[in-house]
C-alpha cells in the first residue's frame, strides 16, 4: 500500500497547529510585498504523524537490521548521544551569543578538538566543516594556501589513486586544482613506479585513503609519504576509514599533513537518511595557521576568576570560513558523548572488533565470492558479485536479493577498479550471530545464482516496493508536486 503525498491529505481550512494571538497591536502589512497565496498543505497534526510514521516504516535502518554498507560505517548510533544533543543548554543556545554565556559549549568543542588531535596525531583541528566532502575541499584549500604563502604557486596538481572516493577528485576541482589519477598495483596498493613518475615540483599533494577503499592498509605507506614529501608535496588523508585506526596508528605519525574526520562514520553520529554529518579537519603544525575558523582556544589564566576559560579565534592565515557560524555543534555533542564513554581503551576496542568482523566475513565468504585482493583486510573488504557459472547474474542482483533476507545490501559498483564490486563493512557493533546469518544468506544467494537466477533478477520479492524504474525517473523528471488546486488550475 503506497502512502499518499502530504498534499493529497490536505483539506481547505484544516489546522495542524495551535498558535497564540498577537499580544501587541498589529502593524499595517508592507504594501505591495504581501503574497496572495501560500501553497502549503492543510492537515491535522494526526495526519502529519501518521503520514511520516508510515513513511518511516518503508525504510531499512541500522535500528531495524544489519547495514553492511561499505565505506559508510553504519555502526549503532547510541541513544544517549541523542539525549545529550537535545539538552536545553545545548539545543537552545544561539551561535552568536557572547562567549562568556556559552562556556559549556566552548569547553565541549575544545575537548573534542583536543581528542581528535590526539587520536590522529595532529597539531590543530577545526570543527567547522559540515561533512566529509566539505572537509576535503577545506583540506585542499589549506594545502593550496600553504604553498602559495610560501611563494610556491606552481603547485597545482593533486595526485589521487584510482580507488579513491569520487569526492576526492570533485573536491580538488572545486579548489581550482588539477587531478592526476594514479593506478593501483596487483596487491591493491598505490603503484609506486607511477607515483615516482608523477612526482615533481607541480604536485601540491597526494590524497590518500588509508585503509583504502578495498579495505587494505597501504603496505608501502612510508615510501609513498616520503616520495611525496621529497618532491615538496603534502599528504592529504581521507579519514572516511578511520574506524580501522583508533589506537592502532595515528595518520600524523605516518607523515600525513592533513586529514578530515567523519564524525558520522567513526564517532557514531547518525547518518539521518543522508545527513547531517560533520567533517572536522586536522593538520600538522606548519598548516595550523591556515585552518578555517573560528576555532576554540583555551585562554591563558589571567588571575581573574570571572574570565572566560575558552574563546573563539580565527587562525592567523585562515583560508576563511567554510560555513556560517561554528560547524555542526549538535554532531559535536554526540561525538563528544560517544568518545567520553569509550575512552582510550574503548576506542582501540572499536577498531579491533571492526577489523575482526570484516576479516571474519571475508574468511567465511571467500570460497563462495571471489575476493580479488585477498589478504588480511582492515574494517571492510571488497568481493565480486559474479560467477562464471552464472553469466547473467550481476552484483546488483545479489544486492537486491539480500533485501529479501532482511539485510541492507553492501555498497555496489564501488570501488570502480573491481568488477561487480560488493563492498562489505560490518562495523564493530554487530554480533557473531548476525554475521553468521548474513554469511548464510550470501551463500544461499550464490547457490540460487547458479540454480535459479530468475529469483535474483526479480528480487526483491518481500519488500514493500519492487525495483524502481530509474531510467523513467530521469527521462520524465517529476521533481516536485503542487497542491491539488494549482494542478487543476494548470
Amino acid at each position: 500500500m503506497i502512502e499518499p503525498l502530504i498534499y493529497d491529505l490536505s483539506s481547505p481550512g484544516r489546522l495542524g497547529v495551535s498558535l497564540p494571538e498577537t499580544d501587541v497591536p498589529p502593524h499595517a502589512l508592507p504594501e505591495g510585498l504581501v503574497r496572495e497565496d501560500l501553497p502549503l498543505p492543510e492537515v491535522a497534526e494526526l495526519d502529519v504523524v501518521r503520514h511520516f510514521v508510515r513513511l518511516s516504516q518503508l525504510n531499512h535502518a541500522i535500528d531495524t537490521g544489519f547495514y553492511p554498507l561499505g565505506s559508510c560505517t553504519m555502526k549503532y548510533n547510541p541513544k544517549v548521544n541523542e539525549d545529550a544533543a537535545r539538552l536545553t543548554g545545548f539545543a537552545f543556545t544561539h551561535p552568536l551569543q557572547e562567549g562568556s554565556t556559552v562556556q559549556g559549549n566552548l569547553a565541549l568543542m575544545y575537548s573534542l578538538q583536543e581528542w581528535l588531535k590526539e587520536i590522529a596525531g595532529f597539531a590543530a583541528v577545526s570543527l567547522q566543516p559540515a561533512a566529509g566532502a566539505h572537509g576535503e575541499v577545506t583540506g585542499i584549500l589549506i594545502i593550496r594556501a600553504y604553498h602559495r604563502h610560501r611563494g610556491d604557486a606552481k603547485r597545482t596538481k593533486i595526485l589521487i589513486p584510482d580507488s579513491a572516493h569520487g569526492t576526492n577528485p570533485a573536491s580538488t576541482s572545486m579548489a581550482g586544482l588539477q587531478v592526476v589519477e594514479l593506478p593501483s598495483d596487483a596487491r591493491g596498493n598505490i603503484d609506486l613506479e607511477a607515483l615516482r613518475r608523477a612526482c615533481d615540483d607541480t604536485v601540491a599533494a597526494l590524497m590518500l585513503t588509508n585503509p583504502n577503499t578495498l579495505g587494505l592498509f597501504e603496505e608501502h605507506v612510508r615510501e609513498v609519504v616520503d616520495q611525496i614529501h621529497a618532491c615538496g608535496g603534502l599528504v592529504y588523508g581521507d579519514g572516511a576509514n578511520m574506524n580501522a585506526l583508533l589506537g592502532v596508528v595515528r595518520p600524523g605519525d605516518l607523515g600525513f599533513d592533513v586529514l578530515h574526520f567523519n564524525l558520522h562514520k567513526t564517532f557514531s553520529t547518525p547518518h539521518g537518511g543522508g545527513g547531517p554529518g560533520s567533517g572536522p579537519v586536522g593538520v600538522a603544525a606548519p598548516l595550523a595557521d591556515f585552518l578555517p575558523g573560528p576555532v576554540v582556544e583555551a585562554v591563558e589564566e589571567n588571575g581573574s576568576e570571572e574570565a572566560p576559560l575558552y574563546r573563539l579565534v580565527m587562525p592567523a592565515q585562515s583560508i576563511g570560513r567554510v560555513k556560517a557560524f561554528l560547524g555542526h555543534f549538535g554532531m559535536h555533542v554526540r561525538a563528544y558523548t560517544y568518545m567520553r564513554m569509550q575512552g582510550k581503551s574503548g576506542l582501540r576496542a572499536i577498531s579491533d572488533h571492526a577489523v575482526l568482523n570484516a576479516n571474519y566475513l571475508r574468511a567465511r565468504l571467500r570460497d563462495t565470492y571471489h575476493v580479488p585482493f585477498d589478504r588480511i583486510c582492515m574494517h571492510e573488504f571488497v568481493a565480486e558479485g559474479r560467477w562464471e557459472q552464472a553469466p547473467g547474474v550481476r552484483a546488483l542482483d545479489v544486492a537486491k536479493r539480500l533485501m529479501d533476507f532482511g539485510f541492507h545490501p553492501p555498497t555496489n559498483y564501488f570501488p570502480l577498479i573491481v568488477h561487480e564490486a560488493l563492498m562489505i563493512e560490518p562495523t564493530e557493533t554487530e554480533s557473531k550471530e548476525t554475521l553468521d546469518a548474513f554469511v548464510q544468506a550470501m551463500k544461499t544467494i550464490a547457490q540460487e545464482a547458479r540454480d535459479d537466477p530468475e529469483i535474483l533478477h526479480n528480487a526483491p520479492h518481500t519488500t514493500p516496493f519492487g525495483r524502481l524504474d530509474e531510467v523513467r525517473a530521469a527521462k520524465e523528471l517529476v521533481l516536485c508536486c503542487r497542491p491539488v488546486e494549482m494542478e487543476k488550475a494548470g
Binding site: 495542524g16 498558535l19 501587541v24 504581501v34 503574497r35 501560500l38 492543510e42 497534526e45 502529519v48 504523524v49 511520516f52 513513511l55 518503508l58 525504510n59 539525549d83 539538552l87 536545553t88 545545548f90 537552545f92 552568536l96 556559552v102 559549549n105 569547553a107 561533512a131 566532502a133 566539505h134 569526492t167 577528485p169 570533485a170 592498509f217 589506537g247 595515528r250 547518518h271 539521518g272 537518511g273 547531517p276 570560513r321 560555513k323 556560517a324 557560524f325 555543534f329 558523548t337 567520553r340 564513554m341 575482526l356 571474519y360 588480511i376 541492507h408 557493533t429 516496493f465 519492487g466 524502481l468 524504474d469 530509474e470 523513467r472 530521469a474 517529476v478 521533481l479 516536485c480 503542487r482
Partner: protein, 447 residues
C-alpha cells in the same frame, strides 16, 4: 566495552576462522614503530557518568529557554511543535543512510520529494535539491552554478553588502582557487541601484538577500530586469519563514533562490546542524549541485521515488561533477518538511505575521527611548538595526543582568555601523519581554 557485543568465546572462534592468533596480528601491514600508540585520552565513563558531565556542560551556558532572546542575524529562536522532534526521533529515519537502495528507502525518498515540493511551493521556484549544508554554502554553490552556466565566459560576481557577512565570507573561501572577481559589498549601505550600475558583460551573477541582513524587505523587480538585460543570473538569499507573509522571489523572476532553513523547525543548537535551501528554474536543473529525488514507478506498477540525475554528482562524474557534495542535511530537510506540513498554509502565515507585528511594536518603542533610534528606512520584516548611545557590548552586558540575550553588534562586520545593534523578534517574544527589553535598554543608556 560499550556497544560491542562480542564475548571472549566469539572472539576466539572468529580469530580462528580468520587464521590469526590474536587481535594484534590483524595489523601486520601497519609500520611497527608507530603501531599501537599510547594515546593520552581519558579512561571510559559509564552512561550515567557521561550524562552527568554533559548535563553540567549544558548548564554552564545561558540559553534561550531561560533568557529572553533578541539575537537573530541568520539564526532565529522560533517555536517548534513537538511533533517535529518526535518524527526526527523515528529510528527508521535517523539511523538510515542515503537512499541508494530505493526498494528499502521509500520513507526517506518520499519525504525528500515532499520536502522538495514544499520548498518549491514556498519559494515559487521550479526545482529544489535535497539540501545543502547551510544557507552560506548554498549561496557558494549558486555561484558555481552561475559560473558553469556561463561556461567560463563570465567571471564577475556582484554581492549585495546586505547579504549576511558570513555568507559573503564563505563565498570568498569557496572561490579562492577560481579566477573570479567578487565586488559590490565594499560599503555597508549601498542599495540595488549600485549593483545595477556595476553590471557589465562579465557579470555572471548578482546576489541579494530578502529580507536582507538588516531586516529590510524590498521589491527586486527592477534589479531583476537589469540583471537579466545584462545576461546575468539573479540569486536571492531568503529567510523561508518570511515567505509565509512576503511575496516569493519567483515574483521578482529570481533564477536561483537559496537560504537558511533553520527557522523551519530546527533548533538553534549553537549554529548547527542547519539546512541549506537551494532552488532554481527548470532550465538550470542539470547545472545544479546536490541530490535530487524524482518520481517513477516500481516493477509492480506502484508510484515510487529514486535519486535521479545522478550523472551530475561526484560518485559518477568525479572531477567533472557539479559539486563535491555527498552527505547533505537529510534529517534537517525532514524536520522542515514536518514543520511546514504541520504549520500549513495558515500556521506559517500566522507565525510570520506575529514576528512582523512584534518587531514593529518594538521598533516604535525603541524609537522613543532617549539616545536610541531605528536606523532602517523603509519596510522591514522581523529584524531591524537600533542606533545605540554606547558600544553594543556594554549594552548587552547590562541586558544579560536582566536575563536578556541582546542583539548582534553590527559594527563587527560593518565598521561604519559602530554602536548599532541588530535586534530580532519572533513569536517567542511576548509583549512583556519586549517591554522589559525596552526598559533595560533605557537603563543601559544611563550608566
Amino acid at each position: 566495552m560499550a556497544y560491542i557485543p562480542h564475548t571472549e568465546r566469539d572472539r576466539q572462534a572468529m580469530l580462528a576462522a580468520v587464521g590469526v592468533g590474536s587481535l594484534d596480528e590483524l595489523y601486520q601491514a601497519v609500520p611497527r614503530d608507530v603501531r599501537f600508540p599510547d594515546l593520552d585520552l581519558p579512561e571510559p565513563l559509564s552512561e550515567m557518568e557521561v550524562m552527568a558531565e554533559v548535563q553540567a556542560l549544558a548548564e554552564a551556558n545561558v540559553d534561550t529557554r531561560h533568557y529572553a532572546c533578541f539575537l537573530g542575524a541568520g539564526a532565529y529562536n522560533h517555536f517548534i511543535p513537538s511533533v517535529v522532534d518526535h518524527i526526527l526521533r523515528r529510528n527508521e529515519f535517523y539511523t538510515a543512510y542515503t537512499p541508494y537502495q530505493p526498494e528499502v528507502s521509500q520513507g526517506t525518498l518520499q519525504s525528500i520529494f515532499e520536502y522538495q515540493s514544499l520548498i518549491c511551493n514556498l519559494t515559487g521556484m521550479d526545482v529544489s535539491n535535497a539540501s545543502h549544508y547551510d544557507g552560506a554554502t548554498a549561496l557558494a554553490e549558486a555561484v558555481t552554478l552561475a559560473l558553469a552556466h556561463h561556461r567560463g565566459k563570465r567571471s564577475t560576481l556582484l554581492l549585495s553588502p546586505a547579504i549576511h557577512p558570513h555568507y559573503r565570507q564563505v563565498v570568498r573561501t569557496y572561490m579562492q582557487g577560481m579566477q573570479v572577481k567578487i565586488h559590490g559589498d565594499e560599503s555597508c549601505c549601498t542599495g540595488p541601484d549600485d549593483l545595477i550600475r556595476r553590471l557589465d558583460d562579465q557579470t555572471a551573477m548578482v546576489a541579494v538577500q530578502y529580507p536582507d541582513f538588516f531586516g529590510h524587505v524590498a521589491d527586486f523587480r527592477a534589479l531583476a530586469a537589469a540583471v537579466h538585460a545584462a545576461g546575468a543570473l539573479l540569486c536571492v538569499v531568503v529567510n523561508p519563514l518570511a515567505l509565509g507573509l512576503l511575496k516569493p522571489p519567483s515574483a521578482f523572476d529570481a533564477d536561483v533562490v537559496v537560504g537558511e532553513g533553520q527557522p523551519l523547525g530546527i533548533p538553534l543548537s549553537f549554529g548547527g546542524p542547519y539546512l541549506g535551501l537551494f532552488t532554481t528554474k527548470n532550465e538550470y536543473v542539470r547545472k545544479m549541485a546536490g541530490r535530487l529525488v524524482g518520481q517513477t514507478v516500481d516493477s509492480r506498477g506502484q508510484r515510487g521515488f529514486v535519486l535521479t540525475l545522478t550523472p551530475r554528482e561526484q560518485h559518477i562524474r568525479r572531477e567533472k561533477a557539479t559539486s563535491n557534495i555527498c552527505t547533505n542535511q537529510g534529517l534537517m530537510a525532514l524536520a522542515s518538511a514536518v514543520y511546514l506540513s504541520v504549520m500549513g498554509k495558515q500556521g506559517l502565515r500566522k507565525v510570520a505575521e506575529l514576528c512582523y507585528h512584534k518587531a514593529h511594536y518594538a521598533a516604535e518603542a525603541i524609537r522613543r527611548v532617549p539616545g536610541y533610534g531605528v536606523w532602517n528606512e523603509g519596510e522591514f520584516f522581523h529584524e531591524f538595526v537600533a542606533k545605540c548611545p554606547k558600544p553594543v557590548a556594554e549594552i548587552n552586558e547590562i541586558l544579560l543582568e536582566h536575563e536578556i540575550i541582546g542583539g548582534y553588534d553590527v559594527g563587527t562586520d560593518y565598521p561604519e555601523l559602530k554602536d548599532h545593534m541588530l535586534l530580532a523578534f519572533t513569536e517567542m517574544n511576548s509583549k512583556e519581554e519586549i517591554d522589559d527589553l525596552v526598559s533595560a535598554l533605557e537603563e543601559a543608556s544611563h550608566d
